[in-house]
C-alpha cells in the first residue's frame, strides 16, 4: 500500500511540475496546490498507513495508527490553503493591473 501511494505521490508531483512550468498563471497556482497535496500524501505515507484503528478515543482498539502525521497534515493543509487563497487573490490583482496572465509577458520589469 505504501509503495502504491508513493507512486501516486510521484504522479502528483509530475502533474504539479508540468503545471508549474506552464505560462498560464492559473495553471501555476493549480500546480502549487497539487504540489502541496502531494507533500501531504507523502507525509501521511511516511508515518505508516494502516497499522491500527483510527487514532480516536471512541474506537477502543488494541492499537492505533500514528496520529502525529495527521496532525502535521492538518497544519500543512491549513497553511497551503492560506497560501493558495492568497496566490489566487494575487493573480487576480496582477491580471487586473497588467492585463495579462501570461508569465512570459510578466518577465523582468521596465523602470517605472
Amino acid at each position: 500500500m505504501e509503495t502504491l501511494i508513493t507512486i501516486l505521490v510521484g504522479f502528483l508531483v509530475m502533474i504539479a511540475v508540468y503545471l508549474l512550468l506552464s505560462r498560464n498563471l492559473i495553471r501555476v497556482i493549480l500546480g502549487t496546490a497539487v504540489l502541496s497535496h502531494a507533500a501531504h500524501l507523502l507525509l501521511m505515507t511516511m508515518g505508516g498507513l494502516k497499522k491500527g484503528s483510527a487514532p480516536l478515543l471512541g474506537e477502543d482498539a488494541e492499537s492505533y495508527t500514528d496520529a502525529l502525521p495527521q496532525a502535521l497534515i492538518l497544519t500543512a493543509i491549513v497553511i497551503s490553503f492560506a497560501v493558495t487563497a492568497f496566490l489566487l487573490v494575487l493573480a487576480y490583482r496582477t491580471y487586473k493591473k497588467t492585463g495579462t496572465d501570461n508569465l512570459q509577458q510578466l518577465r523582468g520589469f521596465e523602470d517605472e
Binding site: 471512541g58 492560506a82 487563497a85 489566487l88 487573490v89 487586473k96
Partner: protein, 140 residues
C-alpha cells in the same frame, strides 16, 4: 450582472441553516471525534459563501453587518488568549484544562478550555475565508 434565481434563493434559505447546524455539530464533535474548529469553521464559512453566491454582496453585508477581518482577528485573539490564560495560572503555555460538571439541563457534561481555543480557530477560519471571497468578488 444580476441573476434572479428563484430556485436557488428558496433552496438557500433552508440549506444555509442546515449547513450552519452541521458546522456547529462538526465543531462540537471535534473533542474526541473527527471534527473541530478548522473543519467546523470551513463549513460555517461555506454557508456565508453560498449567501454571497445567491444574493449580491450589498444585501449580505446589510444582513450580516460584521467586518470579517475583525472576526478573524478576534478568533486569533481567543486562540492565543487561551495560551496566555494558562500562563496566568502558572502553568505551561497552552496548557488546557478539562473537567466534568453537573449542569442543570445537560446532566454530567465534560467542559474543557480547548473549546475556547477551537472557537478561536473556527472564528479565524470563517473570518479569513469570507474575507478572501469578498476580496476577490468585490471589484469584479
Amino acid at each position: 450582472m444580476k441573476i434572479n434565481d428563484v430556485i436557488l434563493q428558496t433552496v438557500t434559505k433552508i440549506v444555509v441553516f442546515i449547513i450552519l447546524t452541521f458546522g456547529v455539530e462538526l465543531f462540537l464533535s471535534g473533542h474526541n471525534n473527527p471534527g473541530g474548529g478548522f473543519i467546523g469553521g470551513l463549513v460555517l464559512s461555506s454557508a456565508f459563501v453560498l449567501l454571497y453566491l445567491v444574493h449580491d454582496i450589498e444585501t449580505v453585508h446589510k444582513g450580516i453587518p460584521f467586518d470579517f477581518k475583525k472576526i478573524a482577528a478576534l478568533g486569533a485573539f481567543l486562540a492565543v488568549g487561551t495560551g496566555i490564560g494558562s500562563v496566568l495560572f502558572g502553568k505551561h503555555f497552552l496548557t488546557q484544562a478539562a473537567g466534568h460538571f453537573n449542569l442543570p439541563v445537560f446532566g454530567d457534561t465534560e467542559l474543557s478550555t480547548v473549546i475556547v481555543f477551537e472557537a478561536g480557530v473556527a472564528l479565524t477560519v470563517v473570518g479569513v475565508v469570507v474575507t478572501i471571497i469578498s476580496t476577490i468578488s468585490e471589484d469584479v
